[in-house]
Amino acid sequence: MRLPEQLNERIDRSRPVRFFFAGRVVEGFEGDTIGSALFASGQRVFSRSFKYHRRRGLLCCSGGCPNCMMRVDGVPNVRVCTEPVREGAHVHAQNVLGSLEHDLLAAVDHFGGPFTPVGFYYRTMIRPRSLWPLYERFLRNVAGLGRLDKHAGRTRRFDTEHRRTEVLVIGGGRSGREAARSAAAAGRQVVLVDERGAPADGAFEVLAPARAIGIYEGGLVPVDAGNVLYRFRAERIVVATGALEQPLLFPGNDLVGVHLPGAVRRLVDEWSIKPGERAVIVSADERGLAVADKLERAGTSVVERIDLRSAPPRQLAARGSRGRLRSVVVDGREIECDLLVMSGGRQPAYSLLAQAGARVEYDAERGIFVPSDLPSNVEAVGSAAGEQEPAAVPAATFEGAEGAGRCFVCVCEDVTEKDVKRAIAEGFDSIELGKRYTTVTMGPCQGRLCHVPSIRLFARENETDEKAIGTTTARPPWAPVSLGLLAGRGHEPTKRTSIHHRHEEAGATMMWTGFWRRAHSYEHAANEALNVHRGVGVIDVSTLGKLLVQGPDAARFLELLYPNRFGDMKVGRIRYGVLGTDAGRIMDDGTIARLGEDQYYVTTTSTGADTVIEWFEWWNAVWGLDVETVNLTGALAAVNVAGPRSRELLGRLAQIDTSNEGISYLDAKETYVAGVPCLILRIGFVGELGYELHFASPYGEYLWDALLEYGADLGIRPFGLEPQRILRLEKMHILVGQDTDSESNVLEAGMPWIAKLDKEDFVGKWALEHVQERGFREQLVGFEMTDGVVPAEGGQIVLGGRPAGRVTSSRLSPQLGRAIGMAWVRPELAHEGAEIDIKVNGGFARACVRLKPFFDPEGERLRS
């Protein structure tokens, strides 16, 4: 099967490698690719085409075209012509029903033209609409590339690695290596990446086989090295991607046995294989014709050489049987052959350069697109820059002959000359539109083979030239890349409180709130809520945003940020604050404790913390006041101990007088609790007597344990976020983002006392003044259902058949035994006892408006 040893062959004949293909064992040698070993074993058909299921062979044999894509060890779409052989690999054909030789789906090809022209699906399969799922299943079975093994799991590991280099050379050909050597000689740090596996070099680092898949801003070049994606940041990028052999467009150009010159060269030189018996060469350049020498050395007789530079034929067509080339017809002459080498010249591989921002222009004389105006950090060398020997500009297509098949413009997507003509006739006459309609250039080769030929065809059909047609936009990825590689390891940044593991150990149901993991509930939310009302509960509120605001301008700073006043607060006292924007919107809420004359401790909502901290720092940068803001969110754990028996528990652990006189409602005090220094904030988000303990994070678990231990006889139980939501709703305490949205302001949200409009300035003051002037459009109120039904959050409120508001929160209160909620309603409904109808399950349910908290309206329990 193999030729005698060739001068530069890559195979090591002393080291055979065996793998499985279609139920048989194939033997190749170390140095073979799966493709070359299969070819040597006599295999000529490597795939069935995307749409028509036509037989396809090794067209380019250099990893560019789609023709040799197979499933290797469960991985689909592997180009076997460049995939090294490995012992025991399992190789399967894809996109076939049956085998490569007997593919049942090939019926699509025999049904012929009317069934599958471009745009057929869009036009035909939309009616009746109800049948689309059937159509879709059929199309998905017929068309396509590989199939994913859904059960494969994570069989491969993909990593991402950040690299830096002074010079990154892309391409390990002659020009690339020369550029790398000279940059290294000039003392630069150089990395060269090459997709073919260029050998190592002492002067610089070689990364191979590895493919640059794009050039992004800032000199970022992602490099696909199989299992590792390197994100290179290069000061200078040298593109030496060479040139791409171009096919010719003639009827039958997709037959098995039609090759580009490089395929023949590699088969003979690298793997010592005889590519065929009788060959015809049709070439626009010297390189293509030069293949004749290789062929003759391999024992293939070259029966005809057609030089497109001197005598281009008008007619060129290939005839075949069972998908294999049998003869070529040239200007009326039929030449029997089993090998046709075609060359339409070579197009500089400019795609990466265009991505980097280079201009690409058509050089009419040479018939190629050439990059120019490169960005300052990018350089092109060798063929990629357009350096190459002269070649003829081939005709857009050649005249056909009877019995010759279709003329393919794009073998990836099975787009024919006829399809392109039809698209243009239908009005898709610009190359960008035509590309999207026909999908030419959008297949796995990413335009390597079809880009220039399709532009030529567009130019001819539009009766203009290639320059006027122009190129399509080049975008990454330049080479197909595994989604797994782009995804990387897929870790998700997650915040956990220092008490987190105690919740998990207690069997809590955990939920996401922003980046945080929080306990939704431990057993039963309603019982946990009741336990707070009746005894004592404890909740982990370490997620609250916490800020220190300190400096001579601290009070002024806060008074500018909040509608509230803070300068008049006594040291050791706490005030509830609502943060607004200059649009008047409620942004966040929390408590502000004055710890010293120029020192405030501010808490924010859990999910708003990061935004508020950046907001504070930003205004500080704008105003330049003499104040420091310090983010203490993670520094401190926080727990809220709440319930009528919380005082008793705290009394056992804290070193202060915990009586109502010792620490009264809205007092902030520092003391030791179970040996840990704490800041105690006596506040009542959940409506019962309660203490928020803020203390150093490392003691989270310790203090949590201590509270549960010393509160055991008081019936202490942890409670989660859901019971807390019930409890706060009973008190009509708002949740920013739940009960408020981008239209909500403190006035209409029913908290006018927050806004001190007599202050000279604060963020949002002007907007609130305008709200006051124009009057309220809607108001936030509470409501109580007259029957037990709980309306959905977001549910519509209707008055006289017209929308009159919406529900923002709703729960069944186990304490009150009623369904309660909060809603935005029109101002005329915002009075105690107003009756509203809420849409529930297609009907309506009656509710009454309530303006005071449902539970403990006077706040006696909070202050007790």
């Binding site: 950040h162 940044p493 915040k495 956990r496 400096g551 520094a635 652990l653 179970a674 203390f695 150093a696």
Partner: protein, 161 residues
């Protein structure tokens, strides 16, 4: 003015019934590993103000001209808090820290220039402070990300072995 005792883990005290136990946020994820050291209990004190005026026997990492992090043994925290100038904030509990070996592991964790350390930047998608000593690296980051960062670091090391 509060001295913010509640920020300083070293101010906790054992008495009669109570013996506060300092727990590292990395303790669980790093249990049983020897390749990564847990530095969470190192003293970390932030200074706001004139960073050039810092004059102490400890490692000072300058973050901005007005902000620095001072690293010290846990036992030295109290002394340093008293001696440091400007606004002094104890970040010992705020920041978790770990130490690992190997430049390749770091390249898989961050795109920071490893020749330009120490630096504040993104590591494993979270904000961090990175220091280098030869082929060993120390990373400090918000303790709430500790378990996650620990998992990422161990996963990266596993991918290199």
């Amino acid at each position: 003015m509060s001295e913010l005792h509640f920020l300083s883990p070293d101010r906790a005290r054992s008495e009669d019934l109570f013996a506060p136990r300092f727990a590292s946020p990395l303790a669980r994820v790093l249990a049983g590993t020897t390749s990564v050291l847990d530095l969470s209990q190192l003293g970390k004190i932030e200074v706001r103000g004139d960073v050039d005026a810092i004059d102490v026997e400890a490692e000072v990492v300058r973050i901005t001209p007005r902000r620095a992090l001072v690293l010290c043994p846990y036992e030295q925290c109290a002394e340093l808090r008293a001696r440091l100038p400007g606004l002094v904030i104890d970040m010992t509990g705020a920041l978790a820290g770990l130490e690992l070996e190997g430049e390749q592991a770091m390249r898989r964790l961050t795109d920071l220039d490893l020749e330009g350390l120490p630096a504040a930047g993104k590591v494993a998608e979270v904000p961090a402070l990175v220091l280098r000593d030869g082929s060993r690296f120390r990373i400090f980051f918000p303790q709430e990300f500790a378990h996650y960062v620990g998992e990422v670091v161990l996963d990266v090391l596993e991918g290199i072995e």
